[in-house]
């Protein structure tokens, strides 16, 4: 410190803060994220055509735990909670958290703020797979699993694998532009086939359309159990790459000179994010906007390091989608709105407000 030209001895640094300015997960925001998720979950469980009070919910949730077991919850209410509302809230949290985390990961590996989990054609592939299944094999199943989500999953994975292979032949993965353009080309091609089938099979158009716009209809815990392993692995792998995603932000060449293989990081993160995205898209349809708006909101409010963006995107993405789903099934009750309509309808204005209030300095 220089005061009137005299150098004063620097104050001794506190032992734990050896370095200032390192990104740390701010606990206030972490707590806020957990609170938002809990609040959204409670709201999601309470809201529905049959009124169930908070007390009943608490009793029903505690019922399976020993010592709390002596509850007197009406079996029909317990059944609504356990087989309809709670699995739906959990599925919403998994889907939202996954899409937001995958979006943040894609933005990191492609160093592109417009990247979302569907950048490499996952949505187009899933839509095509599901449309094929709905049009040509309605109601059929494979080893007990409904064919539509399976076809959606396979379609998404194939599209991304195709984009990766194509991008590799074009630029040898030296830069990400070739990969992104390959994704655009694959998505356009798959969309063309999907639209053709949809037009040719007009009797299924409504079902196809509703699938594309996304919904969280789930029969009990099947959907949750189906996506849970993929989401868990995908999120764990992405979380482990937080430091490397930050490192990638200096560019492929410089990160290589630091002894990190940008290609390897990109491949592993893209595979992980794609697996998770394909799984949730297969169950919930191609819900738009969550993968872009949540990571950017976190970035604008809290900071740009992936050490912060990834975990907070997971929490707020989960909370946001549970809320959006609650709105989707109440706004026009008893009808359900497609959840993609809600995410964009609430999400876009909210995002604009955040962007304006932070002056977009962080973009």
């Amino acid at each position: 410190m220089l005061i009137l030209g005299r150098r004063l001895p620097a104050p001794p640094a506190p032992p734990l803060a050896l370095l200032q300015g390192l990104p740390r997960l701010p606990w206030v925001w972490a707590v806020a994220g957990v609170a938002a998720l809990l609040g959204a979950a409670i709201l999601g469980v309470l809201v529905g055509p049959v009124h169930i009070g908070l007390g009943t919910v608490v009793q029903a949730v505690l019922a399976p735990i020993p010592w709390f077991g002596a509850s007197s919850v009406d079996p029909s209410q317990a059944s609504i909670l356990w087989s309809l509302r709670i699995p739906r809230v959990v599925l919403g949290a998994l889907v939202g958290g996954m899409l937001a985390t995958a979006g943040a990961a894609y933005q990191g590996v492609f160093r592109n703020p417009l990247a979302d989990p569907y950048l490499l054609g996952a949505a187009a592939g899933a839509n095509l797979g599901a449309t094929l299944a709905i049009a040509f094999a309605p109601g059929s199943s494979l080893i007990g699993v409904n064919l539509v989500p399976l076809a959606g999953f396979v379609g998404a994975a194939l599209a991304v694998a195709g984009a990766y292979a194509l991008g590799r032949t074009v630029t040898g993965l030296r830069n990400t532009i070739g990969l992104i353009l390959a994704g655009v080309a694959i998505a356009a091609f798959f969309n063309a086939i999907q639209t053709y089938i949809q037009q040719a099979q007009t009797n299924n158009i409504r079902q196809v359309y509703s699938w594309i716009l996304g919904r969280l209809v789930t029969a009990g815990w099947d959907g949750v159990l189906l996506v849970l392993p993929y989401v868990a692995i995908s999120v764990a792998v992405i979380l482990l790459h937080r430091r490397l995603l930050d490192a990638l932000s200096v560019g492929d060449e410089e990160v290589t000179s630091l002894g990190i293989s940008a290609r390897r990081v990109r491949l592993i993160v893209v595979v992980a994010a794609t697996l998770g995205t394909a799984a949730v898209v297969a169950i919930a349809g191609t819900i738009a906007f969550v993968g872009i708006i949540i990571p950017h909101t976190v970035r604008l409010l809290v900071g740009r390091s992936y050490r912060v963006v990834i975990p907070l995107s997971l929490l707020f993405g989960a909370a946001f989608l549970v809320l959006a789903d609650t709105a989707a099934r109440t706004v026009a009750a008893p009808a359900e709105l497609p959840i993609g309509v809600i995410t964009a309808f609430i999400g876009a204005p909210f995002f604009i407000v955040v962007m304006r209030s932070t002056r977009a300095a962080a973009l």
Partner: protein, 268 residues
């Protein structure tokens, strides 16, 4: 203390040959400046040593072939300061310099106390400690260059490659950065290979100069032997005077053959 050897090195982008048949040995603790006109291949040679471009021939660091090392092993031996390092907006100086610890971490590893200690020491040494928390996009040109050097030093590699360390700096910052590199070289026994276009500064700071033209080595030796008026006239197509600066090297000064008339003066 680490020696760098290039033997019969050739580099081509697509089919265009950029560097050919290059033999060069840089002794341990030496500062070698690569000089030459634009497009001579200076940066390309640095990139080859850091294995950022593929090359033919052999590049060895302390007798070990560069192509046999893993990325992390190489990054623990060679650190490179790019001419225009990409500095992500919003990233703090300390976070940026900490990236230099990457070669010492495993794939999923996290920086520990030692890494923080190393970075804290480097920030202090480079007078960046007060700027540790400042975002990179709020730094001046000289501070940015110091941050880039700090990140390279955090790698604790014995070989430092520097690409045009003084471009876009004013004369004061140029001296500051070069003095810093020279001091660090002495303190830490670094071997420095720098691409430099400023001939006067190259002659003042480097032990030896390697003059490249069209990817070929045309002269290598002490500054006094390489920086001669005829050599510069032939290879740079420049009209210069080389002045001796009484013990502090040589100054290469461009000379105009026809001075323009001062404004307002009527030429008869």
């Amino acid at each position: 203390m680490t020696k760098v050897e290039l033997r019969g090195v050739g580099i081509a982008y697509e089919s265009e040959v950029v560097v050919s048949e290059l033999d060069l040995t840089v002794s341990s603790g030496e500062w070698l400046a690569l000089i030459g006109p634009n497009g001579a291949g200076k940066t390309t040679i640095l990139r080859a040593i850091a294995r950022l471009v593929s090359y033919q021939g052999e590049i060895q660091i302390d007798g070990k072939a560069v192509h046999n090392l893993t990325g992390r092993e190489l990054a623990r031996r060679v650190a490179m300061v790019m001419q225009e390092p990409h500095m992500p907006d919003g990233m703090s100086v300390s976070q940026y310099v900490l990236l230099g610890r990457s070669p010492h971490l495993t794939y999923f590893g996290k920086e520990g106390r030692t890494d923080h200690r190393v970075v804290a020491d480097i920030l202090e040494r480079l007078s960046l400690d007060r700027l540790a928390a400042r975002p990179l996009d709020h730094l001046s040109g000289g501070e940015r260059q110091r941050a880039a050097i700090a990140r390279a030093l955090a790698q604790q590699a014995p070989v430092l490659l520097v690409d045009e360390p003084t471009s876009s700096l004013d004369v004061g910052r140029q001296q500051e950065v070069l003095e810093l590199i020279d001091a660090l070289r002495a303190e830490q026994g670094l071997t420095v290979i720098a691409a430099m276009h400023e001939l006067t500064l190259a002659g003042q700071y480097a032990d030896r100069l390697a003059l490249l033209v069209g990817g070929k080595l045309v002269a290598v030796g002490a500054p006094a032997d390489v920086l001669t008026e005829p050599a510069i006239a032939i290879h740079y197509h420049a009209h210069v005077r080389v002045l001796s600066l009484n013990g502090s090297g040589r100054a290469v000064v461009p000379v105009r053959s026809h001075l323009p008339s001062p404004p307002g003066e009527v030429v008869p």
